[in-house]
Every structure is written in C-alpha cells, then in structure tokens.
C-alpha cells in the first residue's frame, strides 16, 4: 500500500491565513487571557480580508499583525509584500460575557463541571509509533521537508525560492508498517518561472532539502524512489497566483489524512473553543497511550455537544495493536485524562501560553502541524501521563 501525505510551507496562502488568524489570537490572549476571539482570514492577490469577532477590552491592530506575519514569512516581491498589501478588516465587537472570564486555575472541580462546551463537534486524536514523535511517517516527513524548504529561503541558501512551496511524500506500507519511500514531490515556487534551470533546481533541492531531511531517518529514499521537483513545470506560488483561506489545510495541521480528523479549522480560535483544544486533548490522550506501550496505533474520538461539559462519547480504537482491550484503555483515559473544556484549558494553561512567548504561541503551530512537533514544546505533545497509564 502506498500512502501519500502533503504539507505546505508557511508561505502557502492557506497557511498564511492560518498564521495571521493565530497571530491575532495570540495578541488578544497576550493582553487579555480571557479574551474570546474568532479570527478568520482570506487572501487573494495583494488583498487580505480579516474578519474578527471578539469579546475583549484588548486593542489589537489586525492589519499590523497581518503585515508582521507576511514580513516574517518573507514575502518581499513587488506584487506582494508587507508594505503594499491592502488589508480589509471587519472587526465585530461582542459584549464581554462574564461567564467566560474565569481563571480556570482558581476553579473548583465543581465549577469546572459547569463550564459546558459551546460547540457541537466530533474530534479525533491519533498517535502511532512510526516516528519518535509518535506520528504517521508520511506527514512527519512532508512537514520536515516543507520546513526545510522554507529555511533555505530564510537562510538565503536558495534565495531564488519564493515563500510558497508544497511537498508530497508517498510511503510504501507493508502490514501497516512503513517500508520504503515511494516518491517525494517538491513544488517550489520561483520568482520568475525561467529563473533557474529545472535540472539545476532539482539538484539543488535534492542536495539541500531531501538529503538533509532524510539524513537521520531509518527509511531513506532508495534507487527506485522517484524524486520530483515541479513535475508540472514551474510552480507559480503566493497569493498573487492562488488565494488562501483560514482552516483549509486541516490535514497538514493534523495527521496528513493518515487518520481521521475533524474538518473544523484549528487556527483562529481562542482556547474556549472546544473544537480546537478538544483536538489537542484527544492527541494528548492517544499519544500517551502509545507512549505507555498500550498500543502501537491509537485513535481517540471525542464528541462534544452544546451545553454538556463532558464529551458525550469517548471512543478508543487501537486497530488491533492494543496490548489491552480498547474498553480498558477507554476506562484508563476516563480516569487519567481531563476532557472537560475548562479542565483542558487548565491542564494545558492555554490562555496563558501566548503571554509567555514573545514571538507568539499559537501562530507557531499554525504552520508545519499542530502535532508531533519536535522544534517547539507543546503541552499536548508531552508523554507525562504514560507512566500513570502503564500503572493502570
């Protein structure tokens, strides 16, 4: 079986939107941890649309944040850069709801029990032992390749690259274990389509992207692995060529379609949104199960209903890899994990994270995946409950 996962660089318009949305969330939380905010963003050519609904006293300059993100990503082409783009923002202020402005650290268990979910959503968390981060191999590789591609531009190693890029990794599986790399496709956008000879580009990307990423991998491309660079001819990237929208890259954000994921956007939502942090909680649970050795592959499903605190359903699926029955794992989860909205917030301290990180918190997960990150510390990636799970 060959399985393909795709990732995009931070300069991809969809991802650009995700990062702007999360930069806004970060900025609100930095000034007001109790801020409620929903930020959505769209980009088309040199126009960025930002719609923000918020309930907070914090003052946030959306257009400045957006420009900051564009600058950080490195768009500096004449037709799209931080300075020349025009930003249409539609802020909608909602009245402060005192019921949402609580410090979960100070809440008693009974009070946490009263903070109900405000959204109806079914979420999935997944983990498997294909990589040290306990993620499916294809998406892990794709994300790493994409990040490497962007780094090359930032380091000016390959200065002719544009920030927009796309990577696809196809991995051959046998009995649900990855065995070899079938193909790697890199779509790298260039400022001018004919700027670089396609063969030279392939060679440069092979040397600077593919090889370094696979250097320490157990499974490396072999002679038969097809490495393709811009197979359809020059790749025209950036918002001038295709538009972007917040929340459209949910597969890149999660498991590269190797496992199920909710279609809801993760970016642009404050931590009171269970459709965002529930996904983190589910991943946290699944990862700890695999880390505890209870299974080598595990999916945790959470279903929330409006007005109900606990998930209306909590299901565990180990796809036959479980050392103990799934029902038993489910019991363990109920005992050791917190799935109530305020409980998750309290455990991960999500409202307070942005003020601790000068360069933003959520906006960093908005590119190269919310899960399985080895470059940044994420509370839901900790395996600190594995021991407890092992002990039963």
């Amino acid at each position: 079986v060959i399985f393909t996962s795709e990732s995009v660089t931070e300069g991809h318009p969809d991802k650009l939107c995700d990062q702007i949305s999360d930069a806004i969330v970060d900025h609100f939380l930095k000034q007001d941890p109790y801020a409620r905010v929903r930020a959505e963003c769209a980009v088309s050519s040199a126009i960025i649309f930002i719609a923000v609904r918020y309930a907070s006293d914090a003052k946030v300059d959306f257009s400045y944040l957006a420009r900051k993100v564009i600058q950080r990503i490195g768009y500096d082409q004449p037709d799209f850069n931080a300075k020349i783009c025009s930003i249409l923002s539609a802020p909608q202020e909602l009245p402060l709801n005192m019921a949402h402005r609580f410090d979960e650290d100070k809440l008693s268990d009974a009070e946490i029990d009263r903070v109900a979910a405000k959204n109806q959503v079914t979420l999935f968390g997944f983990a498997c032992d294909q990589t040290p981060e306990l993620m499916p191999l294809p998406i892990t590789l794709a994300n790493r390749l994409a990040r490497r591609l962007a780094e090359l531009r930032h380091q000016k190693t390959l200065a002719y690259l544009l920030p927009d890029g796309k990577v696809q990794v196809a991995v051959a599986f046998e009995k649900y274990r990855p065995v070899r790399i079938h193909s790697v496709t890199v779509m790298a956008s260039l400022e001018h389509p004919k700027q670089v000879d396609p063969n030279k580009l392939t060679e440069a990307l092979m040397e600077n992207v593919v090889k370094p990423v696979f250097k320490n991998e157990k499974i490396k491309p072999d002679k038969e692995t097809r490495i393709l660079v811009n197979p359809d001819g020059p790749y025209q990237g950036g918002p001038t060529h295709h538009s972007g929208l917040t929340g459209r890259k949910s597969a890149v954000d999660t498991y590269g379609e190797y496992a199920r994921h909710s279609g809801d956007a993760l970016s642009g939502k404050d931590p009171m949104r269970v459709d965002r942090i529930g996904a983190y909680a589910a991943r946290y649970a699944a990862k700890n199960i695999v880390a505890a050795g209870l299974a080598s592959e595990c999916e945790v499903m959470l279903s929330y209903s409006i007005g109900i605190t606990r998930p209306v359903s909590l299901e565990v699926q180990t796809f036959g890899t479980g050392k103990v029955p799934d029902a038993k794992i489910r019991e363990l989860l109920e005992r050791h994990f917190e799935f109530r909205l305020a409980g998750i917030m309290k455990h991960f301290r999500l409202r307070y994270l942005p003020s601790k990180h000068a360069d933003g918190y959520f906006q960093r997960v908005a590119a190269y995946g919310h899960f399985g990150r080895s470059d940044i510390e994420l509370p839901w990636e900790k395996t600190d409950r594995a021991a407890a799970l092992k002990d039963g």
């Binding site: 040199a46 025009s86 930003i87 000068a358």
Partner: protein
C-alpha cells in the same frame, strides 16, 4: 526643425514646427510667407499647438512641402543673421499676442527674438527646458538657485512680463443676455404668429404678441443676469499663493507676483504657481492630472532629459502651473508665467468656448425642444381638424400658432439657471460657498460622503496626553509632563530629554518669539505644534536648541515612508544626529536599541511586544500615536540613514471629535448616504473613532488599511470600496484613488479636504469640499464648495440645499409642463368634438403670461420639504422626470382640463357656443392652473397629509397677484372687451369656482394613493 505628424490625407499635411509653440510672431510670419507660395493652397499655423497645417497642390507631396518649409525657415534665419543686434531692450520688440501691430511692422526683429531669445524681451523665452542641465537653466533665466532673485529684479520682471495670471474668459454683457432671451424656438413661434397677425390685419394681436415676447425677455433678462452675477462672483473666491526664495529668504506671496527666474519651494501640498524646471528633488512627486489626465502622481527629478520631444507627461524635471506637489520636497526655477505656461495655452484654447451646461440644463434644453416639436405637431393637428371643420384658414392659422406659443414651455432651461442661482445664494447664507454651478445640482445626488478624520471629524486641536518612554507611562496635562514617583526632574531622564529634543527638532513648525518672557507663537500642523509645545513647556529653549543642533537636511514623510527625519550637526558634542518621528510601527522597525534611564540597551523581542501593546492601547482609545527614535554619529562617521536607531518612546495625542459629528453622521445615514472616513492614522486609532461615531450605520465596520493604495488593482479597489467605511494609514495623495474607486463603483462622491495633498481628490470628487478655516488655498482652488468655519453641519445644509434646488427645478418644470398641457388638451378636445374654440387668441396669450411665469418662478423659492433628508439620494443618471412622472403630469392636466371642459359644457348648455361659454372655460382653466401651483409644491405631500411643507410666501404672492389680475378680467369692462370675456352670473361664478377647485382636490387626493418616495431601505437593499 520640422516634423511631419499627419500625412495620411492626400494634398494635406500637418507639421510640427520647432519653436512655433507659443510664438505668436513666428505663426504670423509663417502665415504671411506661405500665403505667397504658389504650390501651397492654404496654410494655417497655430502657436497654441506648435503645428502647421498645409494644403498643397497635386505637384507636391509632403516631402517636397517639408523641404519648402525648411527653405523658408532657413531664409528667414539668414536674414536675421545679417541684421545688426538690437540695442539693449531699446527696440520695441513687444510681440505679445495682444499687440500684433509692432510684430507686423517688424517681422524680422520679432523673428530675431524667436531665434536668439533674449530674456529681457516681453515675449517669454521658449526653450526645451527639460533637456537643459539645471545650471544652464538657472543661468539662462538669470537667477541663483540658493538665493533666488532679488526683490528689485523681481519687481522689474513683474513690470516687464506682467503678472502671472491666466487669461480670463469675459463675462457676458447685459445686451448679450437680453438678446439671448430672444434666440429661442418659442420666441420664433411667437414671432411667426405676430407676423401672420400683422399680415392678416390683426395689428392689435401682433402688438400683444410682441408685448408677450418682450415681457418674457425682460423677465428672463432680470433673472438670468442676477444668476450671471452670482456665478461671476464664484470666480474670485480664492487667491493662490506661492513660496519662493528671494534675496536668499523664503517668502510667501500671491501666485500672480511670481516671475520668471523665481525659485519655487516645493513641499507636499504646494500648488505650482508657474511652469518651472526642477533643480532639486527629494522623493518629489507631483500630481499632474489636471494637465495630463494621469491620476497617479509623477515622480520628479532634477536630471536633464535627452529628448527634446519628450511628451509633457514624461518631462520628469518640469513642474507645471496648476499641478500639485503630493510628496517629497524640492526647488524649481520658474521658466514661464501666465499665458505662456502650458495651462495658459490650454486655457487660451478653451477661452472662447462657453461654460459647459450642467446635465439638468442640457436635459431641460432637450426636453424643451422636444416639447416644441410635440406642441407643433399637436397644433398642426388642431389646425387640420379646424380646417376640415370649415373654419377659415387665417383664423385657424392664428389660433394654432398662438396655441403653440402659449403651450410651449419657454421657461424650461431658465428654470434650472434661476434655481441654481437661488440655491447658491441660499447656501451662501448658510456659510457654504459654491464655486461651481454644477455643484448645486450634484449636491442633491451625493451618495457617499468621504470625510477627512483630522480637521473634519475631529477638531484638529492636538494635545499630547501621554508619553511612554523608558518603559514608563507618563501623563501629560496642559502640555506639562506630570512627574511620577520620585519626582525627579523630567529633563534629567535621558530618554525623555532626547524624546523632547526630537519633538522640537524633527519638526516643521515655524516659531516666532513674541516677547522676551519666552512666549512663542507657533505656525504649523496641529500635531507638530502640540509636540513643540510640550518641549517648550518642559523648559527647552527651542531657539537655543536650533543653534546647538545645526540643521543639515530634512527627510519629509512621503508616500510609503510614514516617518520623517531631521539630520542635525552638534558641534559642541562633536557629533551628528538623525532625529526621527513617525508611525510607531515603522519607527520601531528602524530600531535595534532603546534608551532606558539614559542608558542604551538592546531592544529585545519582548520589549518590542510591550511597545506594540502600549501603542495598541493608546491607539485603541482613538489617540494619534507617534514613535520617536534617534541615532548619533561622530563627525568622522558618515551619516548612515539606514543604520539601526535608538528607540526613545511613544507620544500619544488626543484630537477630540467635534461636538455633534456623531449626530451628523446619523443624519447622513438617514438621508441614505454612506459615510467614509479617511485618515493617515493607524487602523486601531481609526477604528476607535469610527466606532464612536457609528460610521458603519447598521452594517459592521470595515476598515481598509493600506499605505499603498496605488498598488491595488483599481478594479479590486472598486469592489472593496463599496463596503469600506474607514481607510487607515492612507497617504493624502491616495485619497484620489478612493474617490475614483467609489465613482467607478457608481457612486456620487462628496469629499472633504483641508488641502495638504487633498487637491487631486477634491478635484476628482463629484463634490470637492474645502473646509474653510483650516483649508489651504489649494483646497479652496479646486473645491466645488467651501464650507466656512469648518462646521460640518453646514455640509448637511449644503446637501439639503442641493436636494431642495433639484426638487424645486422639478416643481417649476412640473408646473410649466402640466399647465401648458391643459391648454392644448382643452383646445384639442373641443376641436375634436366640434365644440368650437373655447379660448380665443388673446385669452391664450393672457394665460401664457398670467398663469405661467410667476407661479413657476415662485416655486423655485420653495423651502426644503420636511422629509427631504430622510429620502434616499436620487440615483445618478436618472432623468429629471421619469416616464411615470410624465404620465402623472398628463393625468393631472387631464383632470384640470376636464374641469375647464365641464365649465365650457355648462356654458354651451346655458348660452350656446360662443364667447359666453368660452369665458367660463377661460376662467375655470386659469383658476384651475393657479391652484395647481399649490399642488406642484410637493409630489407626495398632499394637503390632506399630515406633514406640510413650510409656507412659501413668494408663491402666495405670485398666485395671489395672478388671481387678482384674473379677477380684474371679470370686473374691468375694458379688459373684458380686450380679452373677449363676458361677465359671469353668480351661478356662472359658482360653476367656475367648482370646476377649478374640484380638480385641485382630486389631484391632491391622488397624491395619497401614490406610493411615497422610495425609502432608504428600498434603495440600499
């Protein structure tokens, strides 16, 4: 020397002759010389275009003609070379177009001036200035780039060349206006009627018709010459000025005193006073749309261009009269003034053409002509029927012509002119000066009002209220920084000291010391004045500072660079400084260190965040926030402007929103207009103000943040502009784009501005509004209306006035049309039914004077209808009257006519056909028409309705007077005989009363059934 530019047509060619442009003398010379050439059939040279059009015989083609021309030019040149040089300025070398005779007398002398231009001659020198080096230009025009002209030189040149004024089109004379009244189709018809009457023996009739014509002309003359006076007075509202260097000092003088060789100082907002060659430019950009039509500002430089025939629009080193500096700074040397400028020659071309008519005037003129045709046709039919029924030919002819004459609405175009004049006078009483006739019409159709934040929405009285420096927030009250904590001396704190120095030195304010006690007067923008005040109040000797830190250079804020810098040398410290202030984000991005407690520390990412959040907090309160930074170099180091700077702090200024603006915005919204705010402030500040004002109305606010609107695709901007309420961080120069985008989206746009760079946008807007008090000359020069005293409430008055004027034109015309139609209907119906003539010729003419003109004119003095500001603006491009309106008018006329016919029928029943029955119809018709004037006061407010328009004393007077005159026809036997009217019995009187009153009641009742005006909701959805 000669370029063929158009040779496509056989036997004709157009040549560009070098040096012909602007040279009246060469033009004459060529004309004379070519007239004698046998191969040339005709030739016409134009000094305005520099072209020569030649028709030649079939022995030639355009090449041979070109050779011929070259020979002729050569020959003349040779002659001049043989002539001795004229004595210094002694020869009467005047060759200005106004004085053609000396030029004719001394053609060679004149040509000599053209070939070897001498600046002392009165005809101004034409040279390809753009191809000359700056130094050459200054030496040719004998000036010094640093010191300019001396006062004496300037005075002499002013005397020699005359003031820098454009030729003015002449006003129409009284006689012209009077004759104009007689040049119309209706008058021609009446003339024909008079002629026929005279020929057929009806001398009395002819005299009466002549009297009617005369009366109409006199009335027209008085109303129109009054209007003309009003229009004429519009022209002298503004007086442009210029900043020039003379005797080494920058002085401010009226633009008309600028002479060739003057050095103009160019700054954003400068109105270029005369054509000039740029000799120094720093990020200079100029809007030349009025000359070239290109809306984007052109970047200028001082470098000479290679090609002499570079098009005007590409002459990057020239600044042309009437264009506007939109960014940067520079110096330019004047090379042509007055009529010798580019715009001067354009104007000369346009001078003969008449002032353009407004759309309504055009519509009315067209409608008038169509109605004349229609009336003519109907009268022809009446004539035909009458003829067939056996009436005498002459009788029918006279009848038909006088019917036509009385039915034709002669006052249509005048109705608009008079209304405009009245509107302008009314608005002036309300403190709104109207500069362009058309503005009155357009005002009523405004759909989107673009408001400048500073000065229009806010008071433009900045005061510093907070300083955030050295990680500490300090309040400022009354320009004094409040001490906090330990109460240390403010100036002992390094960052505050530095920040205040930047406030004082990176500042364009002019300081004038009033007395020795340190009282200053400050002249400059309110923002910079506020900053200077704080520095002065903190105890800085700003004069001393200016001396300690020598000014080296300034980098003004330009498009896409939202900060300004001042480069200074400080000999006492052996170093040089850059002081920078501007948009907090941009200035912070320039820095990598900050000053805290006098020490310079690295600027960490955390600290940046803190500063941003502090900025957002301040801006979120609607404050204008500026960031401050500096950098220091030793004398040995070169000043590196791109080197990372030292951050000093943020200064927040409050500019309170004017009282009542919120309510006014509400008024705009109720009147179906959208409000748009434009500001250079960051989006957070803009949002805070917009939210306070509820600028979006019912819709959620949308803010477009763009420092470079020019880079946005116009079509996209157009799509966005439909929904945007706030434009933030906009360079004033980009306001033009906003206006254009809104217009492209189909909106009629009004735009306020106070001048710094607003000129192009004000000009492009359908209604450019200059705010009087703070408005600069530029704004006043290009605006359509000027609001006195900066009071936005007057804008509402203006809009109300515009709508009222439009409405009143409709009312007048409505009255003219519907009453005139009744006459036709009554006559036509009777002819068709074989009921004879209800009205005789005299009666028809009487109606024409009594019931037509005065009530119609009085309707133009109607007060605004009570709900006029609750209706949606009329959609652009809608005709004055829709098909529906015409149908309504026809029905109204039908009802009135039915009344008159009923009276006539009663008369026939009682007295049989004849004058007795006719006089019943006559009286019923006149009274019915006069009452109808009251119906025309509103097309939806009925006398039965709840809201009534304010009484119109003029209408009461006009109708009252007409009624009294009409009553005289009943009682004065002489008049009765003249009109052929019989005295009515009491019953007759009752019948007349009923048949006039009942149609009025019926027409008023119809208004109730009519759907009310389109409400705002219906139009916006």
């Amino acid at each position: 020397v000669i370029h063929a530019i158009h040779t496509a047509v056989e036997g004709r060619a157009r040549f560009r002759i070098e040096g012909l442009l602007g040279s009246e003398s060469l033009k004459r010379l060529l004309d004379e010389r070519l007239a004698g050439e046998k191969d040339i059939l005709s030739a016409s040279a134009s000094s305005l275009t520099g072209n020569l059009l030649v028709s030649y015989n079939s022995n030639n083609n355009h090449h041979t003609i070109a050779f011929l021309l070259e020979d002729i030019l050569q020959e003349v040149r040779g002659e001049t070379e043989r002539l001795p040089a004229p004595e210094d300025g002694g020869a009467p070398a005047a060759a200005q177009p106004e004085s053609p005779s000396p030029a004719r007398a001394l053609p060679i002398e004149t040509l000599k001036r053209f070939l070897e231009p001498d600046h002392e001659g009165r005809e101004q020198l034409r040279k390809p200035w753009h191809t000359l080096e700056a130094e050459t230009v200054t030496s040719v025009v004998r000036t010094r780039p640093d010191a300019g002209l001396s006062a004496a030189q300037a005075a002499e040149r002013l005397k020699d060349y005359g003031p820098n004024l454009l030729p003015k089109p002449e006003a129409r004379s009284g006689a012209a206006i009077f004759l104009e009244q007689l040049k119309s189709l209706p008058v021609a018809l009446l003339g024909a009627a008079a002629g026929i009457s005279a020929v057929t023996g009806g001398l009395l009739d002819a005299a009466v018709i002549g009297g009617v014509v005369l009366a109409n002309a006199v009335i027209g003359y008085f109303t129109e010459s009054g209007a003309e006076k009003t229009m004429e007075s519009l022209k002298d509202l503004v007086h442009p000025t210029a900043d020039v260097i003379r005797d080494g000092r920058e002085i401010h003088l009226p633009a008309e005193e600028v002479v060739g060789g003057d050095v103009l100082v160019l700054k954003p907002g400068t109105y270029i006073a005369a054509d000039s060659r740029i000799i120094k430019a720093d990020r200079l950009s100029i809007d030349e749309s009025m000359l070239t039509g290109e809306s984007r500002p052109v970047h200028k430089s001082a470098a000479a261009l290679k090609h002499e025939n570079t098009p005007l629009a590409d002459r990057e080193n020239m600044a042309y009269m009437g264009t506007l500096v939109t960014g940067g700074q520079g110096l330019a040397v004047v090379v042509a003034t007055g009529r010798f400028t580019e715009v001067g020659s354009l104007q000369a071309m346009l001078a003969e053409t008449e002032a353009p008519k407004t759309p309504i005037e055009l519509q009315l003129a067209l409608m008038g002509n169509q109605l004349v045709m229609a009336c003519g046709a109907i009268c022809g039919v009446v004539f035909g029927i009458g003829f067939l029924r056996g009436y005498g030919l002459v009788q029918m002819l006279k009848m038909a012509i006088s019917l036509a004459a009385s039915a034709v609405p002669e006052g249509l175009p005048a109705a608009a002119t008079i209304n405009f004049a009245m509107g302008i006078t009314d608005l002036r009483r309300h403190g709104v000066l109207v500069r362009k006739l058309q503005a009155v019409e357009t005002l009523g159709a405004v759909q989107t009002v673009c408001l400048d934040k500073t000065g229009t929405i806010t008071q433009n009285r900045m005061s510093v209220i907070e300083i955030f420096a050295g990680r500490t927030r300090r309040e400022v009250a009354g320009d004094v920084i409040r001490p906090i904590g330990d109460g240390r001396d403010i100036l002992a704190i390094g960052e505050i000291r530095h920040l205040l120095i930047v406030c004082a030195l990176c500042n364009e304010v002019k300081i004038v010391r009033r007395d020795e006690n340190g009282v200053f007067e400050l002249f400059g923008s309110s923002t910079e004045t506020a900053l200077m005040q704080v520095a002065i109040k903190a105890g800085f000797d700003v004069y001393g500072l200016q001396e300690d830190f020598h000014f080296l250079e300034a980098r003004l804020r330009a498009e896409n660079r939202l900060y300004m810098s001042s480069l200074r040398a400080c000999p006492s410290q052996d170093c040089r400084y850059i002081f920078t202030k501007g948009s907090p984000h941009e200035v912070l991005d320039l820095c990598d260190r900050e000053m805290v407690d006098g020490e310079i520390l690295a600027l960490t990412e955390d600290r940046r965040q803190e500063i941003h959040i502090e900025n957002d907090r301040m801006a979120g309160r609607g404050l204008r926030v500026l960031g401050f930074a500096f950098n220091r170099f030793t004398l040995k180091q070169p000043i590196d402007e791109s080197a990372p700077m030292v951050w000093l702090g943020l200064v927040a200024m409050a500019d309170p929103v004017r009282g009542g603006v919120k309510e006014l915005i509400e008024v705009f919204h109720r009147a179906g207009m959208e409000t748009v705010m434009i500001t250079g402030d960051q989006s957070t500040t803009a949002y805070a103000v917009a939210r306070e004002l509820n600028l979006g109305g019912e819709k959620p606010l949308k803010i477009l943040d763009s420092a470079e609107l020019t880079s946005l695709d116009p079509e996209r901007l157009q799509a966005l502009a439909k929904n945007v309420h706030v434009y933030s961080r906009v360079s004033p120069a980009h306001k033009l784009r906003i206006v254009q985008a809104l217009q492209a989206a189909g909106r009629i746009v009004a735009m306020t501005g106070d001048g710094i760079n607003d000129g192009p946008a004000l000009k492009a807007a359908n209604i450019g509004i200059a705010m009087g008090e703070s408005g600069t000359d530029v704004a006043r020069e290009v605006a359509d209306i000027i609001i006195e005293g900066d009071d936005l409430e007057r804008l509402v008055e203006a809009l109300r006035g515009g709508r009222t004027t439009y409405g009143n034109i409709r009312k007048s015309v409505h009255f003219f049309l519907s009453t005139n139609m009744t006459e036709i209907l009554v006559m036509f119906a009777c002819m068709a039914l074989g009921l004879g003539f209800p009205l005789n010729v005299m009666q028809l003419l009487w109606i024409n004077i009594i019931s037509d003109i005065f009530p119609g004119l009085a309707l133009s003095r109607e007060a605004p209808e009570p709900d006029i500001m609750e209706q949606a603006p009329r959609p652009p491009g809608t005709p004055l009257f829709s098909g529906r309106d015409f149908r309504d008018m026809a029905v109204e006329s039908g009802i009135i006519s039915t009344g008159a016919l009923a009276a006539y029928a009663y008369g026939i029943g009682r007295y049989g056909q004849g004058p007795r029955a006719g006089s019943l119809a006559f009286q019923a018709l006149v009274f019915g028409q006069l009452l109808h004037a009251f119906s025309c006061r509103s097309d939806h407010h009925s006398i039965f309705g709840r809201r009534h328009p304010r009484p119109n004393p003029y209408l009461n007077l006009a109708v009252g007077g007409s009624l009294a005159l009409q009553a005289l026809t009943l009682f004065i036997p002489g008049l009765r005989g003249f009109l052929g009217v019989a005295p009515p019995t009491l019953i007759d009187a009752a019948v007349i009363g009923a048949s006039a009153l009942l149609p009025f009641i019926a027409n008023e009742a119809r208004k109730l059934a009519r759907p009310s005006h389109p409400r705002i909701e219906e139009v916006t959805t």
